[in-house]
Amino acid sequence: MQIDKQLVQHIASTARLQLSEQEINEFIPQLKEILDMFSQLDQIDVKNTLPSFHPILLENVTREDKIKPSLTQEQALSLTKHKEDGYFKGPKIL
């Protein structure tokens, strides 16, 4: 697996991380070693195997369309300093 600075930066920006130069240089060999280990999976044949997205069989769990009380506006906003007039405040778009 070819791991270079460009790929590391691309992954970081997709994940919204801004790695420092030092971190990038540290990560390149580390990720390479780990991904080499991941690549062991190339050796096993799973052509006729279905994926297990959970380790046990789980299916058909739904709930009724019945309204339950929501949080109050005050409770909803109680864990942040970023609020104004009943709204959460978030960073600007542009």
């Binding site: 580390q30 280990m37 959970h54 405040k89």
Partner: protein, 496 residues
Amino acid sequence: MAILKGQRYYKLKLSIDNNNYQEIKMITNLHNHIQAVHNQSIDIVEYTAKALEQAKAINKEYNYFTTISEELALSQAQNLKKTPTGRLAGVFLSVKDAICVQGVESTAGSKILKGYKPLFNATVIQRCINEGAIILGKTSQDEFGFGGFAVNTEIVPKNPFNKDRVTGGSSGGSAGITQKADFAHLALGESTGGSIVNPALFCGVYGLCPTYGRVSRYGLLDYGSSLDKIGPMAKTIEDIASLLNIIAGHDDKEATSATQKTEDYTKYLNRPVRKMKIGIIKDLFGDVFGDGVDENITKAIYKKIEQLESEEVICEEVSMPITNKYGIPAYYIIATAEASTNLAKYCGIRYGAADDLKSNYNEYFTKFREANFSKEAKRRIMLGTFTRMAGYRDAYYTKAMKVRTKIIEEYQHLFKKYDALISPVMPMLAPKFSELEKLTPAQHYMADIMTAPPNLAGLPHINVPIGMHNDQALGLMLTTNHFEEGKLIQIGSAIR
């Protein structure tokens, strides 16, 4: 449940301080303690004050807590004094930081969640509180469970037998306080890839990781949602069974909660093991980690196997070639892929830490996440983001899910013949902090070779302490088929 506020709390605190509760002799036996609370032969408020005092003193030396929930504990004790009921009446419960306790800071050991006081209780917490448990505090852990040594966090817990050694992780704080607490105490840990049995081993306590879905995850701060399991940690296997009885069972708030019937796990305690069949995973005693498994571990475990054989348990060596070769990569691919999406929500808007809103959303999120995730969290987010990217997804993420099926099949094949499997928990005994520094991240991950597979397959497993080697605790791991926690208790209680 009302939390004591302001004046009332300080009044209570003053009255406790004036009392000479230091003289109190704590009851360490869970059963006796609960009885004493039920028949009101002890003042649970005073006992709570003393337990808090002890927890603080231990914490000063060992860093087992991120928060000691003094106010909550005292208010619960007050309520309990009035109505002394519940199957855990007055038992002190330490909770891994990743499990939500309403109104108590719950950060999963991460800076990014500083100040997050959940508006709700995790289902397991609610169940324990309903049974009269008193929440002592939130325990230190690797950030979001990212680690096997509890060093990837700001508050690093220290091994109860030697402060230069690690507690193991990620549920290190829960394991450490369980060993050190000198009062009726239980702990909740959480395991994604071994985070219950690993610190249980290093701290010399029992730790049981149940079947995936057996214990509700509602209120657990997610690491890998298809892998995460909450489980009990305690000094005795009796206590493990008692706590499991309370936390196991279906939760209709959670889609991945199992609907299978629960059992009274205490019924399995000391049940005869004659004619039971145990497979010894021989590959895991060999050369799995460079220099191989620490020979003291192998020796100690085989001694216990001999003991079981003397009780007519049939023990045979088995091999798991697929599991032991592919378990680690499949586990780390799935765990990091899921984790990297679970951690996307941490962006400094609705809860937890926050910056000033100066830049646009991309810059804001990026800077905030960069500043507040630890290096290991970043590494795993990077890995997980990569393995689910278009173009790589099938080769890593989807393939790992298929390999998981293969591994489950390999286990199921063995469980047709065997009641349980036996193996070491970790390839090494509790290392010193200084020894860890030499390992690369990949080598860190490889240390999960014994614990990652049963976690990947969602199988219940337990650490059974089997003595000490100098200042290092010894233990063995039992693994059983899905929903056979009972057999873990049965065989675990037969190992002396």
